[in-house]
Symmetry: C2
Subunit: 265 residues, 2 copies
């Protein structure tokens, strides 16, 4: 079983879009997938057409009220299940400030649950706060969605520093699987400059004992494609909304790459 | 003097880009402008070519260590000054949890300072946490940068709810000046649908006594323009980097609209 956190504190880089559609593409290949929405904005939940509300058991109930993980798992289709978010989740960071072991609550809840998921994907909010730390404490690997822009590049060092801190103190098995380029436009000079800088950064880490020494920049890139921004308004993944689009093809290619790399693990 | 918060908890919608370039365009028209970076990512600071570091007095020192506002104001050019962010700022939310009146610290510091700024722009992080609340308690008005996408539309109701809460409990003068559409591409069906929905939402609020009853969707839109994503890597605003670009023209138009609306206030 692989637990993958989709994480980047930079906002609007495609974390949710990648979680939704990589999840759907893995499910299409027969994998049993659970998606967990750790963002109080609840965009992953909304993207699946679920109205975030206090009536349904959500991640907040699991983290703060001690409800079991399986109570919050809502089956979406044959191979996909979802743990929804709710707006209460925004308060969880403050409500858990004094709680002992607050960084590991999600991991504890999952350990107590019997399930048969092949992949668990964690959609993180745009911050390095307690919710993201809970995701990193639980995950076995991190995929970093990243736009090939200058400002997005600035945050990578801080992001990797946080991953290293979590892997040292709480989760020694945590590694960075890779960086996936999103909203990609190969024609701009900027994206090619950023890609070159990323590649040389990743290459310089190889062979060292860092959580990202084995990381790659995925060769599958998610091209800019307005269909990816339209599909959430229909409560659908890109595979259902526009199965023949670039957005669908790119996420299928990414899923293949993700599956194949585990063969080598 | 006008204090404007650039705010939207949705990530990556152009908050920083609007703060930088609206600030520069207001300065170009002779206004004295101070930009405050409330985001621990420090992208506004980086955009002006300033390396965020503990050596220079930053917003963190003002909020948590009681340094004066004016000590943190660094002059950038003739009409623009900047209060930089630093990575410590990420810890401020937790460090201030027990502090009495923690939501109004920034407002208090500013009240103690003698200055002659015409405009103060506040670049907020992608969250509704303590840093954003400090900005809303201080501001006289809010400008909401927004991408014309479905997911971005979802957060507006929650955003306005937070503004209403702050205006009731802490800052009765706070109003929403308007929504500025960013990364705009008039050719997509999606953006025209989102714009129509926004306009009808804003129109239905007119005449009521809500903080956004007088709000508008600015007629100046910031078109998608790769030069806007390139200029930060040179530590420049769009007006210096590509003064003849769409990005420069759009921000100049927005500045005119912002200046003119105050004539009517
Ligand atoms: N490849 C793409 N092409 C076009 N639009 C995209 C693409 N990927 C994502 N989008 C759109 O860009 C916006 C940002 O993407 P998304 O919400 O997935 O990012 P995020 O990192 O999850 O944001 P946040 O930091 O707010 O959680 C959304 O409106 C989404 O629909
Ligand atoms: N009109 C535009 N055209 C093209 N690129 C843009 C435009 N506006 C902003 N960008 C780029 O899009 C990315 C997101 O913009 P920006 O960082 O200003 O958003 P933000 O809301 O401040 O993000 P965060 O939520 O992380 O603070 C940046 O890389 C920026 O350079
Ligand atoms: Mg998201
Ligand atoms: Mg920003």
């Amino acid at each position: 079983m692989r637990i993958i956190a989709l994480m980047n504190q930079k906002g609007g880089v495609g974390k949710t879009t990648t979680t939704v559609n990589l999840g759907a593409a893995l499910a299409e290949r027969g994998k049993k997938v659970c998606l967990i929405d750790l963002d109080p904005q609840a965009h992953l939940t909304i993207n699946y057409g679920i109205e975030p509300s206090r009536e349904i058991c959500s991640l907040y109930n699991v983290l703060v009220e001690g409800r079991s993980f399986l109570e919050a798992v809502h089956k979406v289709n044959q191979n996909v299940a979802l743990v929804p978010s709710s707006i209460d989740l925004a308060a969880a960071e403050i409500e858990l400030v004094g709680e002992l072991g607050r960084e590991m609550i999600l991991k504890k809840r999952l350990e107590q649950a019997q399930h048969d998921f092949d992949y668990i994907l964690l959609d993180c909010p745009p911050s390095l706060g307690l919710l993201t730390i809970n995701a990193l404490s639980l995950a076995s690997e991190v995929i970093i969605p990243m736009q090939a822009h200058f400002l997005a590049l600035q945050g990578v060092a801080k992001l990797l520093e946080t991953i290293q801190l979590v892997s040292r103190r709480m989760n020694p098995r945590l590694v960075v699987a890779g960086i996936v380029l999103t909203m990609f436009d190969a024609q701009t000079k900027l994206s090619n400059e950023v890609v070159a800088e990323l590649n040389s950064f990743i290459e310089s880490a190889q062979g060292k004992s860092l959580p990202w020494s084995g990381a790659r920049v995925f060769s599958s890139r998610i091209r800019r494609n307005i269909k990816l921004a339209e599909s959430p308004s229909f409560g659908q993944t890109i595979l259902d909304y526009e199965p023949a689009s670039n957005g669908a093809a790119d996420h299928r290619a990414l899923a293949m790459e993700v599956i194949e790399m585990s063969a080598g693990v």
